[in-house]
């Protein structure tokens, strides 16, 4: 081993590693392979090939974090196994969460139905047919109380996939915790709160960009003092990839979104090191194992550079890209659904070999319907088998130094920078979205991919090759079609039993506060939520002040 690396290793052991080991000892004294051969914490190059190991790859837990954000990675603690779930009513979802926690899941991840995600009450005409379909229906604090009934909010961390009305759902969560006797500085979790990718790929936007960015800044500011353990945003490439982007586009557009959020927050006077440590990311895991691993490593390296060089962050936490991963929904096939278990296994390995902090594994039946309890269990077991049986967790960043992987990491980084710089030249991500540039780039990739599948150039097992005649599996999960009526009835009860004068006062105060762009809306939203104002009512007050976003259709 070259002297330079040997010396740096000693220094890393004395500093970065020692600090972490004192606070978080590794799970075992000695890690071994399946055949009892001892495995070292980290493997380093025997010889310096290009002379830039220390600068480009370096040590885990140190800038530029190519090898991971923790010096011990999974030897210290495994990733959080977090299955995204929710459907029907708050009661049904509550019992699914308790089931998952009983099965050894270590964090919750809440799926909301589309009316909730777009700020409509269940009895709004536009909600027809959608109530409780892709997630749980939440209309007011009442539903949220039921959703977390019997789940101690000081013990679990909760991720909520909510964007445009993120402030409202976060406020509900804080109030439910307080009612459980858990103060807001103790709760841990994440709100997705990433509106830019909604405009780009996911579609659950409400307001135009400027007031949306204001709400995000309000959350950053409020949480930095009031809810310090909360991840205030999960900047998401997942949906960009699902929409058909390439791996490079996924991280490039996500990081460009991140740059926009940081620039905006600094623009309203927030100190970068006060909020940047609570930014988190969310990526996809696809089937091309090594490309995916390289993607995560490249993304960490780019973000570290962006934060240090572009935004002059000083704290290490501000430069670390921590991310959640979900396996690729779009890679699942309706044909021969058992094959999806194998796809998810490969994708799980990609996420873990790439150093994810948490992971959702998709269930085999998700190209057909919401997953059943049985198929969710297999998906969770997939993670547990990789974690406890595969051995890939025994050493940090095990694929580092592979000629192919390091070259891919460099190439992906370079191509992603090209996109990021191009978007910066356009004036930033909001401008790039309004010009339809990002959407068009993604659609072109999606179109190319699908054409290649159609022509048979790209093989999808069970779809365009190795096909069989088959019947759809029985016993798929079905959401009760009467749910809309049930939820509307519950909502009416809330409206009949709350103090309606108080509710309308808090809503009016919120509307007034929204007019002054300097006012932080979080305290006003908290008050409205507390008075059992519904999500639709709160969103409508803000719609009136902010207006609504209309998509620019790009084909």
């Amino acid at each position: 081993m070259p002297e330079s690396i040997k010396n740096r290793k000693k220094e890393w052991e004395r500093t970065t590693l020692k600090k972490v080991l004192e606070r978080f000892p590794e799970q075992r004294e000695i890690f071994t392979t399946g055949s009892d051969k001892e495995v070292d914490r980290i493997y380093l190059p025997e010889e310096e090939l290009k002379g830039d190991y220390l600068e480009k790859i370096g040590f885990p837990g140190e800038y530029p974090y190519t090898r991971g954000v923790q010096p011990t990675m999974y030897r210290g603690r495994l990733w959080t196994m977090r299955q995204y779930a929710g459907f029907g009513t708050a009661e049904e979802s509550n019992s699914r969460y308790k089931y998952l926690l009983n099965q050894g899941q270590t964090g919750l991840s809440i799926a909301f139905d589309l009316p909730t995600q777009i700020g409509y009450d269940s009895d709004d005409p536009v909600s027809a047919g959608e109530v409780g379909k892709v997630g749980v229906a939440i209309d007011s604090l009442k539903d949220m109380e039921i959703l977390f009934d019997g789940i101690p909010l000081d013990k679990v961390s909760t991720s909520m996939t909510i964007n445009a009305p993120a402030a409202v759902l976060l406020a509900m969560y804080i109030v439910v915790a307080e009612k459980q006797g858990v103060s807001r500085d103790k709760i841990r979790g994440t709100i997705q709160n990433d509106i830019l990718k909604e405009y780009i790929a996911r579609g659950t936007y409400i307001f135009p960009p400027a007031p949306s960015m204001r709400l995000i800044n309000n959350i950053f500011e409020f949480c930095s003092t009031e809810v310090p353990k909360w991840n205030t945003i999960s900047i998401s490439g997942y949906h960009i990839r699902e929409a058909g982007s390439t791996a490079v586009q996924e991280i490039a557009f996500t990081i460009a979104d991140g740059i926009e959020y940081v620039r905006n927050a600094i623009g309203v006077g927030l100190d970068v090191d006060h909020f940047a440590g609570r930014l988190s990311f969310f990526f996809n895991a696809h089937n091309d194992l090594l490309e995916e691993v390289a993607k995560y490593r490249a993304a960490r390296r780019i973000w570290a550079k962006v934060m240090k060089e572009n935004f002059s962050a000083k704290k290490e936490k501000s430069m670390m890209m921590r991310f959640h991963t979900q396996t690729a929904g779009s890679s699942l096939t309706a044909q021969q659904p058992d094959n999806n278990v194998i796809r998810v296994t490969i994708q799980t390995l990609a996420a873990v070999l790439g150093g994810t902090q948490s992971l959702h594994t998709n269930s085999k039946d998700e190209a057909l319907a919401l997953p059943t309890e049985d198929s969710v269990r297999v998906a969770l077991r997939t993670q547990q088998i990789v974690a406890h049986e595969s051995g890939v967790t025994n050493t940090v960043d095990p694929l580092a130094g592979s000629y192919y992987l390091e070259q891919l990491t460099d190439d992906i980084e370079k191509e992603a920078w090209d996109y990021i710089n191009r978007i910066e030249k356009m004036g930033g991500m909001v401008q790039a979205i309004e010009a339809g540039y990002v959407q068009k780039e993604i659609q072109d990739s999606a179109y190319r991919y699908q054409k290649a599948v159609e022509s048979g150039d790209r093989v999808v097992v069970g779809v365009n090759k190795f096909t069989v005649e088959e019947k759809e599996p029985a016993g798929l999960l079905k959401v009760d079609p009467a749910l809309g009526k049930i939820q509307a009835k519950k909502l009416q009860d809330v409206r009949n039993t709350r103090d309606n004068r108080k509710t309308s006062d808090t809503l009016q105060a919120l509307g007034e506060a929204a007019k002054d762009t300097k006012t932080n809306l979080m305290p006003f939203i908290m008050e409205a939520v507390r008075s059992y104002a519904t999500l639709g009512e709160i969103s409508n007050v803000l719609r009136k002040e902010f207006g609504e976003y209309r998509e620019s259709i790009v084909l």
Binding site: P115, G244, L370, V460, I553
Partner: protein, 134 residues
Amino acid sequence: MSEKIRIEIAKPGLDGHDRGAKYIARALKDAGYEVIYTGIRQTPESIVATAIQEDVDFVGLSLLSGAHNELFPRVVELLKEQDAGDIIVFGGGVIPEEDLDFLKTHGIQAIFRPGTPISDVIAFIESTRKGHAA
């Protein structure tokens, strides 16, 4: 008549999964049809209004949220109410096999499920077209 066949591709309901709809729209355009794509979050009412205004021959509905049993038949119903029952409605998305009969009896003439090649969609259009030339 010898004008091109006109097809509206629409996304009823609230889901933003437009990858499939956009692919179909673009691939049908490439195949020589006139395609009108509505964008996401359309109501059955707005889809039908567009269909009539644009004088389309087909309406293709894409939905991945599971609200198809409510929203697809509503489009057919509204078309009939507006004397446009001759417009052919088809659909696609995450739609379980057990819903296919229900949708068929409610006037949705074909459902294309995940993994369907575009050639199947084109074959359907060509076999059901009425006196048009592509």
